[in-house]
Each structure stands twice: as structure tokens, then as C-alpha cells.
């Protein structure tokens, strides 16, 4: 336990960081639609289930979504921009989760643009939150502009969400380069929406392919799962669904962040003759 990062297979280990108070972890991706907000919401819930004090910050000013995924959209009174512009205290913009009293959300403003917040504002807000929380999770907007810079400015660690598709992997590579340029690197990878059967048929990049291409370590593999969309529909993140495979994956990532050594989900990467025979004999 503690603040050492767990070495995971498939890449370089992260340097150990010394931080007073909670860890600021930014979830980003470059490309939109790969599952940043879903990942942030689920990691927040999963860490709260581990009895951690967690605050989530949505930095996607003008396109806020973390509130609906978390099912907290009806409780918003103040938002991040209100805090920055001094219309409310930080505490007033923090919405408490219905089920977990130690889980909070600071929503993005919906009516402003990303220039309303600066990277320095984000550093200041996170420093104010560190003494009170174990984890401060920041949901980054897509893209590489101001919103992204706001999101990574206060980060101690960065999680890069990608899908096993050429466009998402290419954008992830660009983001990793920018993260390293800001001395926030190298970051850790979450491979989201992996379809095992397609990987087996050789029609989808495998986790090994993606880590090979991007040359960073991987902290989690989340399988494609039909329970994710209904969970978002209901505003109850999939982590709370005990039978969901994606939920298990998110809970495992939270435990790895927390320092536990949990093996990665195994993917049978090939469907060639020898492997099929091997699977028959091993009863798989």
C-alpha cells in the first residue's frame, strides 16, 4: 500500500513520487469517445469502495458529462468555473455521491468555454484538496488544447485511455509525447473496449501489440461489455454491477492504483492450430 506505483508487466516502471496528501491522477486520451469519462467515474466508485476519500473533477468545460454518468446531474448548484471566479467556496461546488459519503464530484461549467480555467487555477484547486482526500481524479477533455493542459497541470500521475484501434492508438501516442514534454510522464495505459474474440481471430490489436507500439506500461484492460451503456443510462457506474466483466476490470485498476499486485486479464492472443489443440487438451 501507500504511494509507490506498482510495476506492471509490459513496460518501464514509473518513478516513485513523493506527494504530501492525496494523489492527483488525470485521465486523458487525446481522441474523444474512448471512455475517459466512464473510466473516471468507475475508478472513482471503485476507489470509494476501497474506503478511500475521493474527489472527481470534470475539466471538460462546456461539454460536461461526468455528472450524468455518475447520476448526480440534478444536484449541481455550483461548478468549477464558479470556484475559479470566486462565486462560491470550493466545498460548495463539491457534490456528495448518494451511496458513498466520501466520494465527491466537482462538475464542469456547461455554459462557459475552456479559457475560463487556467492550469494555475487547477494546481491551486488540487493543492487545496490534497490534504482532505486520498485521490483526486481529473477527467480530461478530448484534444490537446487548453482543456487538456488544465487537466494535466496538477497531475502526479496520468492514465491514458485508449481503444485497440489505429486512430485511438495514434492519438494516445501523441498525448504520451505531450505528457512527457510536460514532465508528467510516462503515464500508464488503460486499454478499453477490448474484444477478446476479435483479438483471438487476429482482427484486433492485442494488449501486447498496443503496449509494444506505445512503449508504456499498462495498468488495466477493460473488455467490451454490454452492461456499460445501461449502467450509464441509469447513472449507476458499471463498477457497482458485481457480475459485469468491465466492472471487475475497473475494480482491479483501482486496486492496482492502490498498490496491490493484481495480474492483468489474460487474452488468448491466437487461434492457430497448435493453440486450438492446446486449448482442447487444457479444457479451455
Amino acid at each position: 500500500m501507500g504511494q509507490t506505483s506498482q510495476p506492471v508487466p509490459g513496460g518501464r516502471p514509473n518513478p516513485v513520487r513523493r506527494i504530501s496528501g492525496g494523489r492527483v491522477i488525470t485521465v486523458t486520451s487525446g481522441k474523444g469517445g474512448v471512455g475517459k469519462t466512464t473510466t473516471t467515474a468507475n475508478l472513482g466508485i471503485a476507489l470509494a469502495r476501497l474506503d478511500k476519500k475521493v474527489v472527481l473533477i470534470d475539466t471538460d468545460i462546456g461539454l460536461r458529462n461526468l455528472d450524468v454518468v455518475m447520476g448526480l446531474e440534478n444536484r449541481i448548484v455550483y461548478d468549477l468555473v464558479d470556484v475559479v471566479e470566486g462565486r462560491c467556496k470550493l466545498r460548495q461546488a463539491m457534490i456528495k455521491h448518494k451511496q458513498f459519503p466520501e466520494l465527491y464530484l466537482i462538475p464542469a461549467a456547461q455554459t462557459r468555454d475552456k479559457t475560463a480555467v487556467s492550469p494555475a487555477d487547477m494546481v491551486q484547486i488540487c493543492n487545496a484538496l490534497r490534504p482532505e482526500f486520498d485521490y483526486i481524479l481529473i477527467d480530461s477533455p478530448a484534444g490537446i488544447e487548453r482543456g487538456f493542459r488544465n487537466a494535466i497541470a496538477p497531475a502526479d500521475e496520468v492514465l491514458i485511455v485508449t481503444n485497440p484501434e489505429v486512430s485511438a492508438v495514434r492519438d494516445a501516442d501523441r498525448i504520451i509525447g505531450l505528457i512527457e514534454a510536460e514532465n508528467k510522464g510516462p503515464g500508464k495505459l488503460i486499454l478499453n473496449r477490448l474484444k477478446n474474440d476479435m483479438v483471438r481471430r487476429g482482427e484486433m490489436l492485442s494488449p501486447a501489440d498496443v503496449t509494444d507500439i506505445l512503449a508504456i506500461s499498462i495498468i488495466g484492460i477493460v473488455p467490451e461489455d454490454e452492461t456499460v451503456v445501461p449502467a450509464s443510462n441509469n447513472g449507476i457506474p458499471v463498477t457497482l454491477n458485481e457480475s459485469s466483466k468491465a466492472g471487475v476490470a475497473f475494480r482491479n485498476i483501482a486496486r492496482r492504483l492502490n498498490g496491490e499486485n493484481i495480474p492483468l486479464m489474460q487474452v488468448e492472443t491466437s487461434g492457430n492450430l497448435f493453440q486450438r489443440i492446446a486449448r482442447i487438451f487444457s479444457g479451455g
Partner: protein, 158 residues
């Protein structure tokens, strides 16, 4: 057991589009990281061939240049430049700025492709290459471009 067979057979032998995706990504990402497009790579190659041809005899078609990534922060340019003939230290021509023999050889090999080009020393040669970079590529003979111009410069040196 399965992993052993997989390694033995090699992933590249598997069918499916995943390997193609990986190969394409590896190429495009190295170019992204260098911030250099394939077109500019071709221009760089053409100019490298032109410069190298001034000193040793090479076949431009056989020159390969590639960007290679060993680690995230360790990108490099790899060039493979096969010589047309072994270097003979006793050959007095080796000291000359341009080996005449191979020039004559390559010119006579493909006379139909010989065309007038400005001198290599003339800066307009590079301007020309830059502007008509596509044309030079499509002619599929950057070698002739390079060697012919080098040939002229060599003759002039005499």
C-alpha cells in the same frame, strides 16, 4: 504451451488485420514523432543520394532510408547505402571527387533517361527538386537525376 507455439510460429504469420494495423501504426507513429512526412523523407533521400553519388558510386534505387525507434526518446535515421563496386585503394580514381568509370557505366545503361539538369552546385537544382519533388519521384529514377548532375559537375572539375 500455447505461448511457446505462438512464439515459435511468430505473430506475423497469423492472418487478420491486426498485424497490418500494427505495422501501419509503427510507421506512422515514428513519422509523427519526428514530425516529418513521407514526402519530405523522399526529398531527403533524393538529396542524400545526390550528395553521396558525388563521392562514391551507388545505385539510387537500392538506397533505403528509414526512421527507427528503439525507445520512446530514441529515434534515429537509418540509411542503407550499398556501393556499386568494391572500393579499390590502389585505384587513383578513388581520390578524385567523383569516380568516372561508374558514371559512364550508369549513363550508358540508361541513355534514354538522360536529360539536361542544372549543375549540382547551382542552388536552383535544389529549388527545382523541392518544387517538382513529385515529378522526380514519379520518374522513378532519382539516380539518373543525381548522377547526371554529378557527372556534369565532375566533367567541369576536369
Amino acid at each position: 504451451m500455447a505461448g511457446f507455439f505462438e512464439r515459435m510460429l511468430g505473430r506475423s504469420k497469423e492472418p487478420g488485420s491486426a498485424n497490418r494495423a500494427k505495422e501501419r501504426l509503427q510507421v506512422v507513429l515514428v513519422h509523427d514523432r519526428f514530425n516529418i512526412s513521407p514526402e519530405r523523407m523522399q526529398m531527403m533521400k533524393d538529396e542524400l543520394v545526390a550528395v553521396i553519388s558525388k563521392y562514391v558510386s551507388i545505385t539510387g534505387d537500392e538506397v533505403e532510408i528509414a526512421l527507427e525507434q528503439r525507445d520512446r526518446n530514441q529515434n534515429r535515421l537509418i540509411a542503407e547505402v550499398p556501393f556499386l563496386k568494391p572500393i579499390d585503394p590502389d585505384d587513383p580514381d578513388e581520390d578524385a571527387p567523383y569516380p568516372q568509370t561508374s558514371t559512364l557505366q550508369s549513363t550508358s545503361l540508361d541513355d534514354s533517361n538522360a536529360f539536361e539538369l542544372p549543375l549540382l552546385q547551382d542552388p536552383s537544382f535544389f529549388e527545382e527538386t523541392r518544387r517538382s519533388g513529385k515529378v522526380v519521384q514519379e520518374s522513378d529514377s532519382p539516380l539518373e537525376t543525381a548522377e547526371d548532375s554529378a557527372d556534369e559537375s565532375g566533367e567541369k572539375a576536369e
